[in-house]
């Protein structure tokens, strides 16, 4: 997030797109509700009539995967109607003229034909957002889990730069990070392109820094993403260490993923449970988990916070860092892993990271710091991009609309979009074993518009057979107008409804993020299949 969570109570216009925040980030959503109660206007762009859409002053029910058209048309209107922040554009951006030319044909009427949102509503959304004193954008995976995820983010970025809604309190472009420490995993350098602190691995100065710090030679080339690595299992990748991820269930195209892991000569898994992924491993290490280890999480607002050990782990389970150090020792690499505690590991990270350079284990005891904290005197950075962007001027880019990897056809005439449910987390490794949440939502349901239930000869509460080119699942139907006509929704949380057997038609070419939000399917009564 460019801005801290506390800023969520401050905008006068809130634009939520591709985020079901009341279910996925419920506590952050309470802040938006406060802003709305205090008079803020909410625009919600989402194919479904999610709770935020019901709260919104303006709901833009776009067709799944058509965000670039909607956002491009909003930018078109902002330029056309003279709603831009000219001083901001002049002082802090570049590429404006190219954008204006690019937007010429992206009229609201053109966009309506693609995304299905009435042109008048697109115009109204543009006027509301551009007219804001403090306009803030919030998004989640509904923006990024597309073949055009980067285009979507850049389209949002254009809106921000056109209107100067960045670098100030209560504004910004705010991705809500999904996992407790997904931000921290990137911060810590678990990325194929960056060392800890987002220092590019291709930069010779960074290579020299890490080679010297560790006394080892480092690769001069980029690594590959996990998606590519899975594709190359059995071809060029023959061993994997998977730490705390149930890849088989959480990743798209489950069959492909299972084949990939089975093609390895050596698979080592570190986990708290014998997950579907761990079951395929050659060695499984029992991990100490939450409540059992000391450590650090960084949240979605870049706040660096301590987690603490409250109880002993079960049996002989150990913290991940100890397990990995043990493997390294057995390989003769023990010198690189001399840690006695989590504190030692974290402090090494701080020494090597530019964003954490001013931090150490003791300084984050109260969780006051938002990174970057470049030195010991620095107070932290709750709001990014105050006077300047990392590259200097903000660059307007010109993404064009592209269809999703697969579009509806005679064989697969329904759009499936997947997401989360409030009571559950990911593959239910945790919440499925928690009495309360499991009681609250005991099974997966396919949300189908009542008209579609009738049209497809389904029965509310009955079982449907849902197919894509990659697989099929049986799933119970729930009739609800939360889904629009022609689009169905479910989560991938339940092991008995293997929705990721169906997904995975395409990936964003830059980030390798899977298009989990769009998957054409057929839906029919299960009949004798039940």
């Amino acid at each position: 997030m460019s801005n801290p969570l506390v800023d969520m109570e401050k905008p006068d216009v809130i634009f939520c797109i591709g985020t079901n925040m009341t279910e996925t980030h419920p506590v952050a959503a309470t802040r938006l509700k406060t802003a709305i109660r205090n008079g803020a206007t909410l625009i919600c762009a989402d194919p479904r009539k999610i709770p935020l859409a019901r709260m919104a002053d303006l709901h833009l029910p776009l067709r799944v995967g058509s965000d670039v058209a909607l956002l491009g048309a909003m930018a078109h209107v902002i330029v056309r109607d003279g709603l831009t922040d000219e001083a901001f554009i002049a002082e802090r951006t570049e590429g404006y003229d190219a954008l204006v030319k690019h937007l010429e044909t992206m009229t609201p009427e053109w966009a309506e034909g693609i995304c299905g949102v009435p042109a008048a509503d697109i115009e109204r959304a543009a006027h509301l957002y551009a007219g804001a004193e403090r306009g803030a954008i919030y998004y989640t995976l509904g923006i990024t889990e597309h073949i055009c995820g980067v285009d979507n983010v850049q389209s949002l970025s254009n809106l921000v730069l056109l209107t100067g809604n960045i670098g100030r309190e209560g504004t910004g472009i705010n991705p809500m990070r999904g996992q407790n420490n997904i931000q921290g995993a990137g911060d810590a350098g678990a990325l194929p392109n960056n060392y800890p602190g987002f220092q590019p691995v291709t930069n010779p100065a960074n290579q020299a820094k890490f080679a010297q710090a560790w006394g080892r030679e480092v690769d001069l080339e980029l690594g590959i993403t996990k998606v590519r690595a899975l594709e190359q299992c059995g071809e060029s990748i023959f061993a994997m260490l998977i730490c705390g991820e149930n890849t088989v269930v959480s990743d798209p195209d489950r069959a492909h993923c299972e084949h990939a892991l089975d093609a390895l000569e050596h698979l080592v898994v570190i986990d708290m449970f014998l997950t579907e992924t761990a079951e395929r491993a050659d060695v499984v290490f029992p991990a100490a988990g939450w409540g059992e280890v000391d450590g650090v999480f960084t949240n979605t607002e870049r706040r660096v916070q301590r987690v603490r050990k409250a109880v002993e782990p079960p049996g002989s389970a150990k913290p991940d860092w100890e397990i990995i150090a043990g493997i390294a020792r057995a390989m003769g690499l023990g010198d690189g892993f001399p840690y006695q505690s989590a504190k030692d590991v974290f402090n090494e990270l701080c020494q090597l990271s530019t964003t954490y350079a001013g931090l150490d284990w003791d300084r984050i005891d109260k969780g006051e710091y938002h990174w970057p904290v470049p030195d010991r005197e620095h107070p932290g950075t709750p709001i990014l991009h105050l006077g300047e962007f990392p590259r200097g001027r903000g660059l307007f880019v010109t993404p064009g609309y592209r269809d999703p990897a697969e579009t509806v056809s005679d064989d697969y005439p329904i759009w499936l979009t997947t997401g989360r449910r409030l009571a559950h987390y990911h593959t239910r490794t945790m919440t499925g074993r928690a009495k309360g949440p499991d009681w609250l939502v005991p099974e997966e349901l396919l949300e189908v518009h009542p008209d579609d239930v009738q049209r497809l000869s389904l029965v509310d509460g009955g079982v449907a057979l849902m197919k894509s080119p990659r697989g099929e699942v049986l799933i119970k139907v729930k009739a609800t107008d939360q889904s629009p006509r022609g689009t169905v929704f479910c989560s991938f949380s339940f092991g008995d409804v293997r929705v990721n057997d169906l997904t995975g038609a395409g990936y964003d070419p830059i980030t390798d993020t899977a298009e989990l939000k769009v998957c054409p399917v057929s839906v029919e009564p299960a009949g004798a299949r039940v």
Binding site: M176, I182, G184, P192, E245, T247, W290, I327, G436
Partner: protein
Amino acid sequence: MSTITIDGQSVPFEDGETIYEVSRRLERDVPTLCYDDRLEAFGACRLCVVELEGARNPVASCTTMAADGMVVRTATEAIERHRKTLMDLVVSENPKGARIDPLRGLASQELAHLAVRYESDGSRFVGKQSGTSRPDDTNPMILRDYDNCISCYRCVRVCAEREGDYAISVANRGFETQITTEFAGLLEDSDCTFCGQCVQTCPTGALGDLRSMEAQDQPGEFEKTRSICPYCGVGCSVDILTKNEKIVGVQPAMDGPANLGALCVKGQFGWDWVDSDERLTQPLVRKDGKLVPASWEEAWERAAKGFKSVVEKHGRHAVYAVASGRAPHESAYSVQKFVRYGFGTNYVDNCSRA
């Protein structure tokens, strides 16, 4: 600058500050039952009354704005006698107050503590009770023990003001007052999201965390460990409750910077997997096609040997590692260092792309 005099001490105040807020700033121990920092002041319990010079009657300090030149006394004999009478009235319909287990919720001891302070044992007034418990609501998370309700409305207000859910409300007046949901139904049939905020603000334990309460009969006290919720990226601060070296519950940290005391159903009630029988307790290695228990040394050797042999056969770019977005930094840092230090490659990623 505007000043107010409290118990003889003259202090400046900010516009919009109440007498209660200024008094608390001065560490005056003004009692309350219906007050929660995060909520609009309500003025229902009247325990926070203070003497205000020039006013005929004591005023509720939580709803009276500080004004220039005010002279306030927070604990005169008359005020304390007044509070004692109020407490005797409140306790008269909640004589169980002193026996509420603190595992019910964060604020659950407020009434009991004040009952002790004002020596209110329920004997002075005897009569009717308000609030009827709902044993028919068999949800496994929130106890609705309204026999202990004192109609402070904190639950109703936190649900509306902080959560924006408006799932619960108040029906009737006086002794007939009842905290309820629409159509007086079960929580699961209402707009309740089971975030547990009502439980944690209840000052009497009329609402209780049923999961934590499972440990209330165990001997000993519980301890709290400050940590961060393990679920989404918001990073809510929590206190992990432990008793006899087991986790028995979670309470929100009111001073948590990301959440200011708020939690959701997962953070509040989704902790019991920690103690699941299905947790892995020892390393496993594959032998004859099956995963079987092994010693740590054996597992470490086996893992190391596998990586070494793949590197020998296929080169160092044949090894790949995936770090977790769920585990702490020290895990992800170790995974990437294992790859970069161990194999000299950048063949590492985390699970953010799916």
